[in-house]
C-alpha cells in the first residue's frame, strides 16, 4: 500500500492536504485542512458532486495503452504501486535544502534570506522539480544510463526556484492571504521587499544555471521566463473576441504553467531532438492539464464558498477554463465542468501516450502515475 500525500494550494484562502489511497481502482479521498491552515476551504471537504462522474483515472491510463507505440513491449498490468514521491525520495530530499543554501550564500541581508527562502520550506507539491527529475531519470534509463546528472538536478532546482519567484510576485499581485498553509509572503513582509526578493531568487537561479556553462540550457530556460511574464500579461485581459477567448486561455496556460514544466523536463544531457521533443510534449500536456484542474478547483471552491459561480475569478478579471466554457454554452454563467474535465483528460491521455514511448522503467511508470494524480486532484 502506497500512501501519497500532496499538499494542494488553491488560490485565495484555501489550503488542504490531500491524502490519497492509490491501491485500487476506487479512489478514496480524504481531505483534511492543513494543520496550520486558518481558513480551510469548505469545498475541499465537500467535493463537488459534478466531479463524481469522472471515469476512473486508472481506466484512463489503461485505455491509453492502446496508444502506445508498437515497439514497446506490452505491459500486462499497469503497476499502480509506483509512487513518484517515494520513488524520488532520495533525489528530492535535499532539493529544498540545496536551494536554501544557494539563496542564503548569495546575500548577507538576514531579511532577504528569510523572504527568499519563505516558500522553500518543503511544504509545496514540488510538481515541477518532480516532473523534471522523473523525466530525467526515465530518459537516462531509456539511454541506458543510471545516474541523474548534476546538471539535471540543477535544472530541477531552477524549476522550483523560478516557480517560487513567480508565486512570490503573484502574491503581491493577487493580494492573497494564505498559501501553502501559512500567511502569504506579502502579508508578512512589505511589498517592495517581496518584489525584490522575487528578483533576487530569479537572479540566483540564473547564476546557478549559467555555471552549467551550457548555451542551450540557458537559452531554453530564459524562454521560460519570457513565457511566464507574457502569460501574466495575457491574464491582465484580452482583446480577443468571444471565439478566440479559449485559444487565448490555452496559450496563457501554456505560458504560465506548462512552459516551465515542458522546457525543464526537456533539458536532458545527451538526449537527441526526437527524445527531447517527447519530453517537451509530455511536459506541455501535463502542465496544461495541471493548470486546467487548478482553475477548475479554484472555480468550484469560489462557487461553493460564495454561492455565486466564478464570482472570485470574474472579480479578479481572470478568465479560467470553467468560466470560459460556461460563457460559451450558458449565458447565465452556469459552470460546465465536464468540458474542462474532458479537455484535461485529453491532455493526460496524450501525456501517457508520450510517456509510453520511453523504455519501461519505474520512472517511466511514475510519469504515467503523475497524470493520474493530476486528474485525481479533481475529486
Amino acid at each position: 500500500m502506497v500512501y501519497i500525500s500532496i499538499t494542494l494550494n488553491f488560490y485565495p484562502g484555501t489550503v488542504a492536504q490531500w491524502s490519497q489511497n492509490q491501491t485500487q481502482d476506487q479512489h478514496q479521498i480524504h481531505t483534511s485542512s492543513h494543520v496550520h491552515s486558518p481558513a480551510p476551504c469548505p469545498s475541499s471537504s465537500h467535493p463537488s458532486p459534478i466531479l463524481s462522474s469522472i471515469t476512473s483515472p486508472v481506466s484512463v491510463a489503461l485505455t491509453c495503452r492502446s496508444y502506445s507505440s508498437q515497439q514497446q513491449p506490452p505491459v500486462p498490468e499497469l503497476n499502480q504501486t509506483v509512487d513518484p514521491y517515494q520513488l524520488l525520495d532520495e533525489d528530492m530530499k535535499d532539493l529544498y535544502r540545496d536551494i536554501r543554501k544557494e539563496l542564503i550564500s548569495n546575500t548577507n541581508q538576514e531579511e532577504l534570506r528569510t523572504i527568499a527562502t519563505y516558500y522553500f520550506d518543503g511544504q509545496g507539491k514540488a510538481v515541477r522539480p518532480m516532473v523534471t527529475v522523473l523525466m530525467g531519470r526515465a530518459i537516462n534509463y531509456h539511454l541506458n544510463r543510471n545516474e541523474l546528472t548534476e546538471a539535471q538536478r540543477q535544472v530541477a532546482m531552477f524549476a522550483e526556484m523560478i516557480h517560487s519567484a513567480s508565486l512570490i510576485h503573484d502574491d503581491v499581485i493577487d493580494q492573497s492571504d494564505f498559501r501553502r498553509g501559512k500567511p502569504s509572503v506579502n502579508v508578512v513582509y512589505n511589498h517592495k521587499k517581496v518584489a525584490m526578493a522575487g528578483d533576487f531568487i530569479l537572479a540566483v537561479a540564473c547564476q546557478m544555471i549559467s555555471r552549467l556553462r551550457d548555451n542551450d540550457v540557458t537559452l531554453t530556460l530564459s524562454q521560460i521566463m519570457t513565457d511566464l511574464v507574457q502569460g501574466e500579461f495575457m491574464q491582465l485581459g484580452s482583446k480577443e473576441t468571444e471565439n478566440e477567448r479559449f485559444a487565448h486561455y490555452l496559450t496563457k496556460t501554456y505560458r504560465k504553467t506548462a512552459s516551465l514544466i515542458a522546457n525543464c523536463s526537456a533539458m536532458l544531457g545527451g538526449a537527441d531532438d526526437q527524445l527531447s521533443e517527447v519530453a517537451f510534449e509530455y511536459g506541455r500536456n501535463l502542465g496544461i492539464a495541471f493548470q486546467l484542474v487548478d482553475d477548475l478547483l479554484d472555480f468550484i471552491s469560489s462557487s461553493d464558498a460564495m454561492g455565486k459561480p466564478a464570482a472570485a475569478d470574474l472579480k479578479l478579471g481572470l478568465a479560467t477554463a470553467p468560466v470560459l466554457f460556461a460563457c460559451e454554452k450558458y449565458p447565465e454563467l452556469k459552470p460546465h465542468d465536464h468540458a474542462t474535465i474532458s479537455r484535461t483528460r485529453k491532455h493526460c491521455v496524450e501525456a501517457v501516450r508520450l510517456a509510453n514511448i520511453l523504455a519501461e522503467s519505474p520512472y517511466q511508470k511514475g510519469l504515467i502515475v503523475l497524470t493520474d494524480l493530476v486528474l485525481n486532484r479533481m475529486k
Binding site: 512589505n190 517592495k192 521587499k193 518584489a195 552549467l212 540557458t218 521566463m225 500579461f233
Partner: protein
Amino acid sequence: MFLRSGLHHCNKAHRNVWPLCKNFSNGTKHTHVRPDWNKAVSDAEKIVGYPTSFLSLRWLLSDEIANVALHLRKLVGSSHPLLKTAKNLLYTGTNNMQAWGLIVLLISKTVGHSRDINEIEQDKSAGVLHSQRALAEVTEMIRTSNLIHKGLINIYPGLYSEEHVLTDMEFGNKIALLSGDYLLANSCAELAALKNQHLVELMSSAVRDLSEGEFVGRQDRQNNPLPPKDLHLTQSEQNTDLKQRIPKDNQGYNSFLENNSKESCLSIEEMSCSGIKSNENNLTTQKASTLENRPMKRHKPKTIRDIIDSLPFLQNNNEDISILFESHSQAVQDWTNRNLLLGASLLGKSCQGTLLLAGHDEAVQQLGYEFGKHLALSWQAFVELETFAHYQQQHTPSSDSNPPTSNELFSLVSAPVLFHLEYATPESRDKVVAQIDNGTDSIFNVDLNTVHQEVSQGPGVLLTKLLQHHHSTRALNVLFQFENSDARNALIKIIQVMDNS
C-alpha cells in the same frame, strides 16, 4: 588640469540638477537640462554610432509595453509612483536612462576588441561589437526594471481609508511589478542569446546586488532609507585604543587625524575656505560671509592641515585620500556599501562584461569593473551634492510655506548627511539625529530644513565633494591606461563636465 578644478563646485553648486543623474536611493528625478552636459553626451553618442536612446525603442514598442500603456491610463489621477516613473522614462528618455548604455559602449570602443573576433560580429562604423550593443541595452533594461520595482507602494492595513484609492494603488503595484518582470525576463533572454555563460553569471550577480540593495539599513514604512544609528560611535568601538584619548563625539574623525597629524591648525570650515581660495581669487567676500554666518568656534578645531596635504587634487597623492574614503570613515563605508549594491555594481559589471565580450583577459576586464564602479559612485556623490544644493536654493526661509515635492528632497542617506552624522559637532549632530528619528514611520516627518541647515554648516558637503573627486580620479586613472581615442576623450569629457560643475 581639470583635476585641480574640483573645488569650484563648492560655490557654484546651487543650480539645476544635472540631467543625467538618477537618485538611486529615492527613485527617479525629473530634472533640467544643462547645455554642457548635453553637448558632452551628444558628442559621445556620435562616436558610438547612433543615439543610444534608440536602444530602448525595441522594447518600448512591444505588445506587452503597449498593454501597460493602456493600463496606465486607468491610473491617471491616482498618486501611484509608477506614473512618475513612466513619465520620466518616456519624456526624459533621451538623456536620462540611456547614459549607462552609452558609457558601456564608450568603454567598449575605448578598449577595443581582440583580433580573434569574427568580422560579422563587428559594427565597423561604430567600433563596437553587436554583442556589446546588446549588453548596453540589457544594462538599461536591468536598471529600468529595478527602478520600476522600487516604485511599488507598500500597502498595509490602514494606509488608505478610501476603497477606490486602495484599488488604484493595488492595480498600480500590479502593473509596476509586471512591467519590471517583463524587462527582467527579456534581459535574461537577450543575455542568453549572447551565448556567453560567464557574462550571464556576471550580469545575474548584478541583478542580485540590485535586489539586495533594497534591504540595506534602516528604512521607513515605504522603504525610504534612514541613516544607521550611532554612525559616529561605530568606529570608536573598533578603535578602543583611541577611546581614552579622544572625546567620544569626534572619535571617528580624530582617529583618522591622529594617524596623519603633524600639526593642527584648521577647522573643516577653514579647510573649505582655504581650498576655495587657492583655486579662485575672487572669493574673499564669500569667505568673509561664511565666517560671519557661522559660529566658527562652536567646536574644537580639527587637525586638517594633513588632510589638505593628502587631498589628491592638492598633492596628487591618491593613496592617502583612499584611506579616508575606503576604510576609516563609517559614513563612507555605509554610503559605499549601499551605492555599490544599488547601482555601481551594475555599471561596473556591465563595463567588465563588455570587455569580456571583446575577448580581453581578466586583468583588462577588472579595469573595466573599476572604471564603471568608480564612475557610478562619482555620479552618485555628484547627484547628491546637486540635489542638496538645489534644495538650498529653493527653500530659503522665505519659501518655507511651500512644502517641497519629493523630487526636490535630498536623501537622508546621501553622503553630506552621513558625513555630518559622523563628523559634525555633537550639538549639531544631535539636532540632525533627533530629526531623523522622527522619520522612523515616514521620512516626510523629518524637518529637512533643519537637517539642511545643520548639514550645510558642517563638513558634509565638502567631504562629499572630495568623495566625488576621489571616485572620478579613480575612474580617470583607469582611462589613462588605454590609448588615446575619441571614445576615451568623450568619457574624459563627461567626467570633466561633472567635476567642473
